[in-house]
Structure formats: C-alpha cells, structure tokens
C-alpha cells in the first residue's frame, strides 16, 4: 500500500516555513541598495493634473526621485502603436485623471518613512472635469460589452416568466467588494543593465507577469525574471500585472537601484480591482407545482471609463435549472472608478446571489420546500449547450448538506422557529463554476538518493498547490511525499497557466501526473521492463545500474479532446443556520455546511480549509462587506480595515465541508474539477435565505447589516 496517495490528508509541505516566519513574500527579500517607492494619489475623480509641485519632496532627506506624468521616462508598451501594447491604465504616461485616488506621482527614497513623508509634500494642481461615479444615476448608460460572449441570450421565449401562474420579479444589489488579501500588493524591481529586469512581485501567474513586463518595456521575455514564491492571498487581485508593478520597474530603471513599492491598505481599495457593484433583475415564472416556465436575468455592473471589465454574472441562469424559456442581458456601466478585477467566484457568485435568492422567494410563493423546488427543476444535461455533464452530483449535495445542517428542523413559516428570543432560520444556496484545464508543463528530476524535485511556473496564493502536487507525484510515482519537493512561483520554470478559475490542480496537477508517468516509463525502460508494468521497481537501483547521477525530463500536458463533448462544472450546495435577534438585528451564523461536487479531492486537509475559507468569504459578502462611495467626491469613505468589514474570528462559528469526492471521468487524469471558486458561490444566498426563514425579512441589498433587520 502506498504511503501517500491522492485522497489523503497531508499537512502543508510549506507549513513549517509559514508558522516560523520563514516564508518570504515579495516584499521581504533582502536586496542590496534597496530603495522605497510610495505612490501619491489624486484627490479628484476626473480631469487633468496641470502641475505638480515636487520641490519640497525632492529636497526632503533621502529622496532619490519623484516620478510624475511630466518627467516619467517613457514606457514603450504605453505608447501609441506599441508592438505589444499594455492594456489598462498607463500610469504617468499622460496627465489625465480617470478616477479618484489614481496615482499621480511616485516618490523614491532611501527609507520607507522618508518616501512616505516626501509623498505627503507633493502638491497637485488640477483642472477638474465633471465626473460620474453614481451607479444608480447612470445605470441607463449601461452598454453591452463588445468583447467576449456577453450578447443578449434567449432560449425559447423572452420574459416568459411574466405569463406564468406563479412568478417572482425582484431586484438584487451587490455592493462593491474588495479582495483585500492580507498581504499588501508589493513589487521589488531591479535591473541588470538596460535590458534585463527582475521582479519580486505579488502574482498569481509568473508567466503572465513576465509577458506583461516584457511587453511594457519592450524586452525579450527571457530577460524578465519574475519571482513570486509565497503570495499572501490574492483572490483574483493578482491575476494581471497592475500599473504600480510597471511603475516600480520604471523607477528602478531611473534611480539605478532596486525599488520596493508597497501599496497602502487604502490604495488596495483603488489600485488592484474589486468585485463590481451590480444590480440584477430576476424574473422567475413557474407552474403551480413548481416547474420553472421562464427565467429572466438582467445584470448591470460598474466598470471603468478607461477599461472595460466583464464577468459572467448571468451565466448561471442559463444552465443551472431546467427551464424551457430563458433570457439574459448583461451590461456594464462605465464610471470614473478604478477598473474591477475577477474576485473569487467571479460572475457566478454575483449571479447566484440573485438567482438563488429569487428561487427562495419563489419557494415561499409556491409553499414548497426550497430543496424540493430545486429537485423539480433539476437537469441531467446542460440545457444551454445541449451537452451531457462530464459529471454532476448536485442532488447528492442537496441531500448530504440538508442532513448535516439539520434541514428537518427547519420551519417553513418564517418567524415561527425560536430559541429564547432568537429567531432561527435555515437557508440553501447553490452554485456552479466551470471546470477548466489549461496546458501546463512540469520538469521532474530524480536524484541518486531517491529524492524527486518537480518544477512548474505555477503559483500558490494559499490553497496549498505545492502540497497537492507533492501528493499527486507521490501517488503516481509510488514514493513517500517527504521524498518530493515541488517548486513554483518562478518564471524560469516550465510554463504553467495563471492560478485562477479553480484550474490549477486540473492543469498543473495533470502536468505533474503526466511527467511522473513519463519518468516512471523511462525508468522502467531503463530497467528493461515493459513501460506499463505494474511490478514495483527500485528507482535508485535503476539509476545506479545505469550509472546515472540523476534523470530529468520535462513534459507538457494538454487537455483531453473528448472534453469538447461535455459541459464541465463543479457544483455546490451551501446551507446556513442562523439566529437573528428581532430587536437588535444581530445575526449569529450558527453553522454553514458546504457540500460540493468538485470531482476527486486530492488533499482533504487543504481542500477542507479552502471550502471553509470560501464560506468565510461568503459571510463577508453576505453580512459585512461594502465599499462605500461618497458620490460628491467619487471617493471611498471606508477604504480601510476598520470601516470595511471583512469577517473576524467572532463572526464564524461552525463550518463543515463535505465532498462528494467522485472523480470526473473527462477533464483530467486525476479526476478533479476545482474548488477555489465554488467554495464561495452560493454562500451569500444561503445566508440571505436563512435570514428570511428566520425573520420574514427579505434583504435584497447586501450586506445584511443589523439596520436592515430591525
């Protein structure tokens, strides 16, 4: 029997480094001659900066440079007609202001304190222009995105819900939510001559960062080295290269010294994306016995005037339930705001809040148990694409989750279930997220002592990528996990996709699996045995016999062409039990059950943590998080951790993760489907629905703060 195998519960391979403070994040490398960069932000939402008085800043002790739109060295990728143009905000390339808090200068000094102080001395003169940040006022200016598949969708008849015997028609609002990983976004950049640059930067994709930095500075990608071994959370905020990363490299080139540029927590609200404010209208129509006749889902969300951001907010309504008539509309409203970015469960988390809330409302109108309603509209094939699912065990999720939350104790009539003064409620929220697989490569090296090293240019923003990869390799090679090291976060390693879309284990895990199989076959061949032999061999002995100190090979792993025939998704059912105080509006989330069909689970320990973490993220989305603008200034009033409330320990009681744990037969050789996103999708509606069940108060505007429940 194997010592370590897929499906085990392995402690993190980098756990010791993380609990001893030994794990180095991007701002923590000791680089000789280091300098510090601090950004100065605009205080207007639209217009131009006409002058910057930088004299005092430049004269302040320790200051090496003040980079502004008026003196910034040109970034080739920002220029018109650039061979490889950089998308998005072109920082310091001109003096235009698109949103409040847009950086207008970068101060570089020999210490952090001196740079910070000098930044406060920079004085700007503006030419202010009218701006629009009020989403509600501008919703009519929404446009259908030109790129991507966001055209209006109709299956059967549009707005069929209006003619149904029972219908729900409501609007749901999701406020702006900010990723806010604990680690501040930080980049340390330094040059070797004029054409080689190294960045230690917070990145979910070192290869992507390498391409972007190379494009920005017109370099050969091989001359750009990106390191991002430890990433202190990201949740989507490090999927792309941001302007401040380019600015750090630009500054390092100018001062000819390494520059470390760290965003402040306040800047984290405006410079590195967010889940956009979204208003969704849902129409549901059903027969009296709860069969859906029509679903209409219309979504408007905010984007930036200088760059369009889109996400699949209405997709879930097209395939999750069986309905002959479905129409969706997706529009974005360009405003004087920073550009959004995909945030954990992008699109689907937003969409499922609206759809699953509306479905809950429908269940009360039908006087039908919410699970029963979902069962009556269950679909065994993808109704949108008319394809079979590669695997789908959502029914099992309903059943196991219901059991674990104690659904039998739920009372259908809101306000009737009490414990002391507290009203008790139960809710369900479901979701799906596409299961993806990208092309990935891995390099493996077997050493004479039997140890194995694997490298791939993937990232680990927290899920425990290295740990899962070690387990896959241990299982495939049949050797103990502690013999294997997995290295990531280095652009010099073999190509791997950016860590996003819950696809890392599917993509990189396949590469690791395949490279291990290839190594095994090579060793069997070297040992003179058939490559597919099941008979165990001693790898060390094989090396010795062949007089080789090590053996190394690289393998690329590509998707299964069969996959085209299927619709592939992870599915989840989240359940919540809440207590609500009728006088004070306080909510205690007694328990959350996250039941998920995500294919085969590689490492139960880290997978459970990820599910629990996603649920906590969902608690934030449902109960506490909202970035608030003062529309008079187009400026956030709560861009900090005291006033923007991410959940704290006391907000969380019991969270149970349950896995169906059946391998998907199509997507990849390991059988996984991905859990990073699905862990959050469905949590917010489960909580909103539980609160309704407790109180009879339907909150359609998140977050559900006490004021909305009294």
């Amino acid at each position: 029997m194997k010592k370590d195998a897929i499906g085990d519960s392995l402690s993190r391979v980098d756990g010791r480094l993380k609990v001893t403070g030994g794990a180095k994040y991007s701002g923590e490398y000791k680089v000789p001659n280091l300098t510090y960069g601090v950004l100065v932000s605009a205080t207007i939402a639209s217009g131009t900066v006409t002058a910057l008085d930088t004299r005092s800043a430049e004269r302040a002790p320790g200051v090496l440079a003040v980079i502004t739109p008026f003196n910034a060295p040109k970034v080739p990728g920002y220029q018109a007609g650039a061979e490889r143009p950089v998308r998005g905000l072109k920082l310091f390339n001109d003096n235009k202001i698109y949103f409040n808090a847009q950086p207008i200068a970068l101060v570089v000094a020999d210490t952090f304190e001196r740079a910070t102080y000098a930044a406060s001395l920079v004085k700007a003169t503006y030419n202010t222009e009218p701006f629009e940040t009020d989403f509600h006022k501008n919703i009519d200016k929404g446009v259908t995105p030109q790129k991507g598949n966001y055209k209006d969708y109709v299956r059967g008849e549009a707005n069929a819900y209006k003619n149904a015997p029972v219908m729900v028609e409501e609007e749901y609002l999701l406020p702006t939510e900010v990723h806010n990983p604990m680690e501040l976004h930080v980049t340390t950049a330094f040059w070797d001559g004029d054409d080689k640059v190294t960045l230690y930067t917070k990145s979910q994709g070192v290869k992507g960062s390498q391409r972007s930095i190379a494009a920005a500075f017109g370099l050969n990608p091989d001359n750009v080295q990106i390191n991002s071994r430890f990433v202190g959370g990201a949740f989507g905020s490090s999927l792309r290269t941001w302007p401040h990363e380019i600015a750090a490299a630009q500054a390092a080139k100018l001062v000819k010294r390494p520059v470390k540029l760290t965003l402040t927590r306040e800047q984290m609200f405006t410079q590195v994306g967010y889940r956009p404010l979204t208003i969704q209208k849902i129409g549901l129509g059903a027969t009296a016995d709860g069969k859906l006749i029509g679903i209409t889902h219309e979504s408007h969300s905010q984007t930036a005037v200088y760059e369009e951001f889109t996400e699949g907010a209405v997709n879930v309504s097209q395939f999750l339930y069986n309905s002959p008539n479905v129409n969706t509309l997706y529009k974005v409203v360009p405003l004087n705001v920073g550009v959004p970015a995909p945030m954990r469960g992008p699109g689907e988390a937003t969409g499922s809040f609206a759809l699953e809330s509306a479905l809950d409302e429908l269940s009360y109108k039908l006087n039908l148990d919410p699970i029963e309603l979902r069962l009556r509209n269950y679909t065994d094939t993808d109704p949108e694409r008319n394809k079979p699912w590669s695997s789908k065990y959502l029914k099992e999720c309903y059943q196991k989750g219901a059991e674990a939350i104690g659904w039998a104790d739920r009372k259908a009539q809101p306000g009737t279930n009490k414990e002391g003064e507290w009203l008790v409620g139960y809710g369900i929220g479901c979701g799906a997220f596409g299961a993806y697989r990208g092309n990935a490569m891995a390099k493996i090296k077997l050493m004479a002592d039997g140890s194995v090293n694997i490298q791939s240019a993937t990232s680990d923003i927290g899920p425990g990528t290295g740990t899962s990869m070690v387990l896959i390799a241990a299982d495939t090679l049949g050797i103990p996990a502690d013999k294997i090291t997995f290295e990531l976060g280095n652009s010099a390693f073999p190509n791997a996709p950016t860590q996003g879309g819950s696809a890392t284990v599917s993509s990189v895990g396949s590469a690791v699996h395949d490279v291990c199989v290839a190594l095994k076959q090579k060793l069997y061949t070297m040992a003179g045995k058939p490559a597919d032999s099941m008979e165990p061999i001693d790898y060390v002995a094989v090396l010795k016999q062949n007089n080789m100190p090590s053996v190394e090979l690289t393998q690329e792993s590509k998707g299964n062409p069969e996959a085209q025939k299927y619709s592939m998704y992870s599915f989840s059912a989240h359940f919540a039990k809440v207590h609500v105080h009728p006088l004070t509006g306080q909510v205690k989330i007694k328990k959350i059950v996250a039941c998920v069909d995500a294919g085969k689970i590689v490492n139960h320990k880290t997978a459970s943590s990820q599910m629990i973490g996603g649920a906590v993220g969902g608690v934030g989305m449902a109960m506490t998080e909202e970035a608030v603008f003062d529309e008079r200034y187009g400026r956030y009033i709560n861009g900090n951790f005291a006033d923007y409330h991410v959940p704290v320990n006391a907000d969380i009681q019991q969270i149970e993760a349950i896995f169906i744990d059946k391998p998907d037969p199509v997507l990849n050789p390991v059988g996984t489907k991905g859990i990073g996103e699905i862990s959050l999708i469905g949590v917010a509606p489960a909580l909103a629905n539980a609160i309704y069940n407790a109180t009879g108060k339907r909150v359609r505007e998140l977050p559900i703060t006490p004021d909305k429940l009294i």
Binding site: G21, M182, R265, V646
Partner: protein, 211 residues
C-alpha cells in the same frame, strides 16, 4: 543594517534631539545656497542634507529581540514594525494595514501582545520583543506552531505570524475558556483566507496540552 553606538541619551528632558533646531537653521542656509545654480553646489547640498539629516534626526534605540540585543539609530517616526522588518530583516512579522486594523504585525513586548505598526520604535527602548522567529527553540517548534500545522490554521500564511503570536498570548491571558471566548479574543487578527475554525481548533488543542 548597521548597528551603531548610541550617541544621545533618550531619558530625561530635551537632551535627545534638541539640536534639531540648529540643524534646521543650517538647512535653510543650505537651501539658500542651493538656489544658486551650479551642479557642484547642488551635489554638495544633497550630500550635506543627507548627512546632517542622518545624524541629527536619529536617536539611539536599544532592543532585545528574541534574546538578541540590538543597538540602533532610528528616526523617532520609525515604528517597531519597520525596525523589525526593514532594519533587522525579521520579516516574519507582517504588515497588513499599518494602522492597527488587522493584527498581522502582532508581536510580544515584554510578554504582552501588541500591534507593532502603531508603536513607535523608541517607545520600546530597552524592552524585550518576541517575534514569530523567536518562538521555536532551535528545531523544536512551539506547540502552537505545531498545532497550526496539524489543524491547517492558515492558507496563504500571511496573517499566520500574527495569529500565532496572538494565540500564544491568549493562553497566557486566560481568555481561552470557551470557543466563544477564543473567537472573541482572537478577533484582532484578520485572516482573509478564512482559517478561523482551524485556528480555534489549534488553540483548543494547545490549551488541552494535547500536542
């Protein structure tokens, strides 16, 4: 960074960096000179400015960090967090907000947990600081570190140092009587990955002496 001999006493009144006034007068003189064009003068000014600022605006700081004594010269505005991370290269202590709103920078000062980002380094002159790097004894991890690994009390690991420093202090403070109490008294440490239930389990295990 280099360790420098202290040159100015810090206790008592007005004898610390009182010469700064004179320094400021000198710098305005230098500034006046700088108005005269000429690269030579400008370069001289830059250098002078640097040197004067360096000498007159720093004060001596004595710290014992994880049992190691340090003598440093720091500007009064430098926080304990920056001294640990940028001057002593003890980067285990994290910066998550720099405003006392997240707990990632939690260290022990004379055995008491504090947010090092809101504590001026000089306030801690002569005190004993314990950071995450000082918790393990050589190769042997502190039971709380072991328990965090065992119960997977973290994901990205960035808040972990602060969580563990808080958790160790919590047990000493005597607020680990119930799950509810642990949660409340661990609420000054935000974990965006959402490892809270596992953190509570780790603390309960150490409290129970099961590690």
């Amino acid at each position: 960074m280099s360790t420098t001999k202290p040159c100015t006493p810090t206790d008592g009144e007005d004898n610390s960096n009182g010469t700064r006034r004179d320094f400021l007068k000198q710098t305005s003189l230098l500034t006046a000179i700088a108005l005269t064009p000429g690269t030579v003068v400008k370069a001289a000014e830059n250098q002078w400015d640097e040197k004067l600022a360096g000498v007159f605006e720093k004060q001596a700081l004595h710290l014992e960090v994880n049992g190691v004594k340090h003598e440093l010269m720091v500007e009064p505005r430098v926080t304990l967090l920056e001294v640990l991370r940028e001057y002593l290269d003890l980067t285990g202590t994290k910066k998550g907000c720099d405003r006392g709103q997240c707990g990632a920078c939690t260290v022990h000062v004379n055995g008491v947990r504090v947010n090092s980002c809101l504590s001026l380094a000089l306030t801690n002159d002569g005190k004993k600081i314990t950071t995450i790097e000082g918790l393990a004894k050589e190769e042997e991890l502190h039971p709380m570190q072991e328990a965090f690994i065992k119960h997977d009390g973290f994901q990205c690991g960035y808040c972990t140092s602060g969580q563990i420093m808080s958790a160790v202090a919590l047990l000493k403070e005597g607020h680990s009587g119930s799950e509810t109490e642990i949660r409340e008294f661990m609420s000054g440490n935000i974990c965006r990955c959402g490892a809270y239930p596992n953190i509570v389990k780790a603390i309960q295990e150490v409290k129970g002496g099961m590690v």
